[in-house]
Structure formats: structure tokens, C-alpha cells
């Protein structure tokens, strides 16, 4: 497998508090990699390190082939990111948002135009091209956020709890988008609370108290722990946790 993310004992300490400890794993190209954990387990810290938002205390990592310490700017060019707060500009329209992010990532104007048309069609937002994002319903905002995060066709996209607060139908549609992206070769690194979403991933890791307690495909994990659902697997591992948010 072509690895796009490799980490070796990646650690983050805030003073004496160890938020993430010696994380070691690999993610392959085109994988949908789920990153689970209870609140306070260290998921967000881990993700922020991989995105270049947080400098690790120790350990090594390579993202899209670039070193996490010395080549953060190169990493940023090769990744996409969607944060919990969605991070689209409320006071800009749909197409203006697409245009902005496309431009930031160095796409040519022609490319941006084509991409905008494609996106609008895919998301069925054709009529809303000139609508301010603030006026879109939550589900549409989410889908748009995702599409904007991969507007520049990055190798990896990081999603931080992307489906909070929407109905199951919209969530399903959102995951359709993720599948489509993964099929195109985009690696998807997603953190989530929803255990049914864990089942959609190729492989899943569960963090407890800053450490990776388990890492495997959902099927294997269910077998290993002898549970019918990921939810039960998660519950077994997470309830032993000492840290609560």
C-alpha cells in the first residue's frame, strides 16, 4: 500500500500533561481512516499535529511524503481540512467561497470556473450559487464545506467531526461524497463520534487517554473483541478511560 501518512511515536505534551502519547500508525492512499475516541482522548490534538496546526513535542511523522517538522508549508499544499465549525465564510456566497479557496490553493481561474460548475452540480446547489452561506441549511453547508476542502484535489483531507448535528439522511449523503472522493484516490482522515460511521471506514483507530488502544478494520475489531457492533467495541475500550473531558 502506498502510505500517505506515517507516524512514529508522535507525542504532544502540554507541560506535564501528555495529550497524545507515542502514536505510531500508517495510512494508505485512498483509505478512509476513522479516528475515534472519547472526548478528551486526544483525537483533536493528534489531527492538529498532522495538519501542521500544532507542533509535536517529539516523535516523527511524514504527511504526503513531507516531514512534519521541516516541511509544513509543503504539507499544507497537499492537504485539505474541514473543521468542526465548518469554516466557510458566512457573508460570502457559495461560488465566492469556492472561488476563494480555489484561488488560495493556486488554481487557475479557468480551473476554478470548471470546478465550481462541477461542484454545484454534484451538490445540486445550482440555484444557490449566489446565496450567502449564512442562509444555507446546515446539511448543505456541511456538504459544501467538504467539497470546498477538496477543491484543489489534495492527497489527503482531514475531517474533524464533520457530521455533527444533521439528520441521518444528510449524513448518509455526506458519506456518499466521502466515498466518491476516496474512489478518486483522496485519502480521508476523519474523526467522529458516530459509531455507525465507524463502520463506513476502511480502518479505524480508537484513542483512549492519549494512546491508541486499537487499530484495525471494523470487521476485525468486532471479531477480536467479540461484539456485534463497533459501538460495543468502543464502549468496552473507552469506559476504562481515566480521562474525561
Amino acid at each position: 500500500m502506498d502510505t500517505v501518512i506515517t507516524t512514529d511515536k508522535l507525542t504532544k505534551k502540554f507541560g506535564a500533561f501528555v495529550a497524545a502519547s507515542e502514536l505510531t500508525f500508517e495510512v494508505g492512499k485512498g483509505e478512509i481512516f476513522g479516528f475515534l475516541g472519547a472526548n478528551g482522548a486526544g483525537k483533536t490534538t493528534a489531527m492538529r499535529m498532522l495538519c501542521g496546526l500544532l507542533a509535536p513535542t517529539s516523535g516523527k511523522a511524514r504527511i504526503a511524503g513531507y516531514d512534519i517538522y521541516t516541511q509544513t508549508e509543503r504539507i499544507k499544499r497537499s492537504i485539505g481540512y474541514m473543521s468542526q465549525k465548518f469554516s466557510l465564510y458566512d457573508d460570502l456566497t457559495v461560488s465566492e467561497n469556492i472561488r476563494f479557496y480555489g484561488g488560495i490553493y493556486g488554481m487557475s481561474r479557468a480551473a476554478i470556473r470548471t470546478k465550481t460548475a462541477t461542484l454545484l452540480e454534484e451538490l445540486q446547489l445550482g440555484n444557490e450559487a449566489s446565496t450567502l452561506v449564512r442562509e444555507l441549511p446546515l446539511g448543505w453547508k456541511q456538504k459544501l464545506s467538504f467539497s470546498v476542502s477538496i477543491v484543489h484535489d489534495p492527497e489527503i483531507v482531514f475531517l474533524d467531526e464533520p457530521t455533527g448535528g444533521v439528520d441521518p439522511v444528510t449524513r448518509r449523503q455526506f458519506w456518499d461524497l466521502i466515498y466518491a472522493a476516496a474512489d478518486r484516490g483522496v485519502t480521508v482522515f476523519v474523526t467522529t463520534h458516530y459509531m455507525d460511521e465507524a463502520e463506513y471506514c476502511n480502518r479505524v483507530s480508537i484513542m483512549v487517554d492519549g494512546v491508541i488502544a486499537a487499530l484495525d478494520s471494523p470487521a476485525n475489531l468486532r471479531d477480536h473483541y467479540g461484539h456485534a457492533s463497533m459501538e460495543d467495541v468502543f464502549y468496552e475500550l473507552a469506559r476504562k478511560a481515566n480521562r474525561k473531558e
Binding site: L53, R77, D90, E96, R99, G106
Partner: protein, 370 residues
């Protein structure tokens, strides 16, 4: 470079869509420039004087008549005793009290000199100064009149006389003094506070994190934030100039190039401040508090209302680090006196230096990675 273009496009779109901001942009110059010069009239006139005339002689009457005829003073009242007059001053019914003692006229002739007693409410320094000066000059005039009237040989003493004129503002009109300074305060509040607010808003809403993940270099991001507010400041300033022209007939004597050049240097320094404050604030409330702190001090201490030259040395040193104090001086110099580039160079240099310092500090503070 291209990223800067897209950044600026976004920023301007957002700014122009901010209707509340645009409204303030239009109204603020108008309101401030109308209200302030109207109210900010330091000319001391209609000074209330309480008079106690214990002499009741023709001379004392004439003196009082002369005082009230001068146009500077208004008779607040006649009192029977001096303590009563003082009480009027105490109650803010009069600004000055004058006592003409009993037998004033008689003693003046007999002994060739006689006192008059004046008490002035000195809480407000300018008024006290000027009020006292006016009164003394009226009394001195009266003194000369008396000598002429009584045909006292004036022994032909030589006298030095004075002619005075005022350059650059011959009629000593206050708006000419205030409007250049008001233009500065207008631009300062808008630019420094708004830029700080804007950046902190991105922090609070999370969009700044999105930017941090992109390959946008931090200096590009900062420039992308500064340019729109620079533009805003220039627009505001121009509007202010126009209003000043229409309402008060103020036309800058000096070169517009010099004026706008100084404006840009000044905006550069104030934007640096806004940026710096934004790096230290996490919430809009904090940004507001910090910028308000500085703006208020700038407004009071930079020579808008009181002259910097009246301050003690240590205060003047502190004020020298405030860009507004330099720009206000520059404004008055260029607009009223036509000062040129070389004349304002020291102040321009000071502003540039401070601006460089603030901006560097801000850029160093702003880190994409925590």
C-alpha cells in the same frame, strides 16, 4: 502574489457587504465634523463678572461701564459686599469678582495710586488666564483715559506700542484648528479598532484556523488584512476633507501628495497597532477593551484638545511614541501653513519608525502554528 489577489477580493467583498460598517463610514465624518467644531470653540467670551462697587463715584461707574461695553464680559450682578460676589463665583454664577473699594476715586487722586481687588475662578485655566488678561488690559486702558481726562501732565513718557497679526489663520477661527485634528481621530478609531475586531472575529468564528491550514504565508495574510483597512482609512479621510471643505471652507494649503503620503504612513502605524492588539485578543470583547484603552489615551493626549507643548517633559516623551500626536501636528502644519515634505520629515520619520516597530512585533506574534 495570486493568493494575495484572492485574499483581497474576499476581504473587500466582506467589507462592502457589511452594511453597518458602510453606514458608519458615511455618517461618522459628517456627524463628527459638524458637531465637534461647533462645540469645540475655545474662544473665551461672555465671561460673567460680579461687581461690588463700594465707591459709587463717577469713575467707578465709568470703569464698570467700560468693562461691560468691552464685549468680553457680562455683568452677572451687583453685590453689596465682596463676600457676596465671591459667593456668586462659588455658585458658578460668576467667573470673576471685582471689588472697587470705598473712596477709590478720592484715594487715587490723593495718593496717586490705589488698589482694585479681583478674584478669578481658576479651575479652568484658559478662561482664568484670558479673563484676567482682558480685565487687566481694560483697567489699564481706563487708567490712561483717566489721566487724559484729568489733564494730568502725562510727562510725555515714551511708550512702546505693539501691533500684532496672526498668520495662517488671520481671523483666529477655531474650526481651522480643530478640523485637521478631528480628521485624525476619525480615521484612527475606525482603522485601529475595526482591523483588530475583524481579525479577532476570524479567530472567534474559526475561519482563521482554516487559513492556517492553507499554504498562505503569514505575511501575505497580514498584508491581505491591512490593505482593505488602509483603503478604508483613505476613503474616510477623503470624505472628511470634503466635508471640511464644504462646511468650513478649509482647503489644504500644502500639497495633497504630502498629505496623503503622511496619511499612508500614519495608517500603516495604526494598522500595526490594530494587528498587534488582535494577536493578543481571543474574544471580540478583549479586542474592544484593549483598543479602547489605547484610542482613548491617544485622543486625549495627542494634542487634539490640549496642546502637547503644555505638557511636562516626561509626558511629552511618552506622547512622542503616539503616532496620532505626530500626524495631528503634520495635519495642522500642512493644511494650514502649507508645510512641505522636508518640514515634516522628522515627524514622518517618527511615525514610520513606530509603525515598523508595531508591525514587526505583530508579525512575529502571529504564528500559524501554536
Amino acid at each position: 502574489m495570486k493568493t494575495l489577489y484572492f485574499l483581497l477580493e474576499k476581504e473587500f467583498r466582506q467589507l462592502l457587504r457589511n452594511r453597518q460598517l458602510m453606514r458608519t463610514l458615511l455618517l461618522a465624518p459628517l456627524i463628527q465634523l459638524i458637531l465637534l467644531p461647533l462645540a469645540a470653540d475655545y474662544t473665551v467670551k461672555d465671561i460673567q463678572i460680579a461687581v461690588t462697587d463700594n465707591d459709587h463715584s463717577p469713575s467707578s461707574q465709568r470703569l464698570i461701564a467700560k468693562i461691560t461695553a468691552s464685549g468680553y464680559f457680562r455683568l452677572a450682578g451687583y453685590t453689596a459686599s465682596y463676600p457676596e460676589a465671591l459667593r456668586m463665583v462659588e455658585q458658578d454664577k460668576a467667573d470673576l469678582a471685582l471689588q472697587i473699594p470705598a473712596h477709590f476715586e478720592r484715594d487715587l487722586v490723593r495718593e496717586n495710586n490705589k488698589q482694585l481687588y479681583v478674584a478669578i475662578n481658576a479651575i479652568e485655566g484658559t478662561k482664568a488666564n484670558l479673563g484676567g488678561a482682558y480685565l487687566q488690559s481694560i483697567i489699564s486702558d481706563f487708567n490712561d483715559d483717566l489721566r487724559i481726562q484729568w489733564n494730568v501732565p502725562a510727562s510725555d513718557t515714551p511708550q512702546v506700542t505693539v501691533t500684532s497679526s496672526n498668520w495662517y489663520n488671520p481671523l483666529l477661527k477655531f474650526p481651522l484648528y480643530m478640523v485637521p485634528a478631528i480628521l485624525v481621530t476619525l480615521v484612527t478609531a475606525m482603522v485601529a479598532m475595526q482591523s483588530a475586531f475583524n481579525i479577532v472575529q476570524e479567530k472567534e468564528s474559526g475561519t482563521i484556523e482554516q487559513i492556517n491550514v492553507t499554504p498562505i504565508k503569514k505575511h501575505i495574510f497580514i498584508i491581505g488584512k491591512m490593505i482593505p483597512f488602509l483603503a478604508l482609512g483613505i476613503v474616510l479621510f477623503t470624505m472628511g476633507l470634503l466635508v471640511g471643505r464644504i462646511l468650513y471652507g478649509i482647503v489644504p494649503v500644502g500639497s495633497l501628495w504630502v498629505l496623503y503620503g503622511s496619511l499612508i504612513v500614519y495608517l500603516f502605524s495604526m494598522l500595526g497597532l490594530g494587528l498587534l492588539l488582535a494577536t493578543y485578543s481571543f474574544t471580540q470583547m478583549q479586542a474592544m477593551s484593549l483598543s479602547f484603552f489605547f484610542i482613548n489615551i491617544f485622543n486625549m493626549m495627542s494634542g487634539v484638545f490640549t496642546s502637547v507643548d503644555s505638557m511636562p517633559g516626561w509626558a511629552q516623551t511618552i506622547v512622542a511614541t503616539f503616532p496620532p500626536s505626530h500626524f495631528i501636528k503634520i495635519m495642522r502644519m500642512v493644511v494650514l501653513k502649507g508645510s512641505g515634505f522636508s518640514d515634516i520629515l522628522p515627524k514622518l520619520g517618527a511615525m514610520a519608525l513606530i509603525g515598523l516597530f508595531l508591525n514587526t512585533w505583530a508579525v512575529l506574534n502571529y504564528r500559524k502554528t501554536a
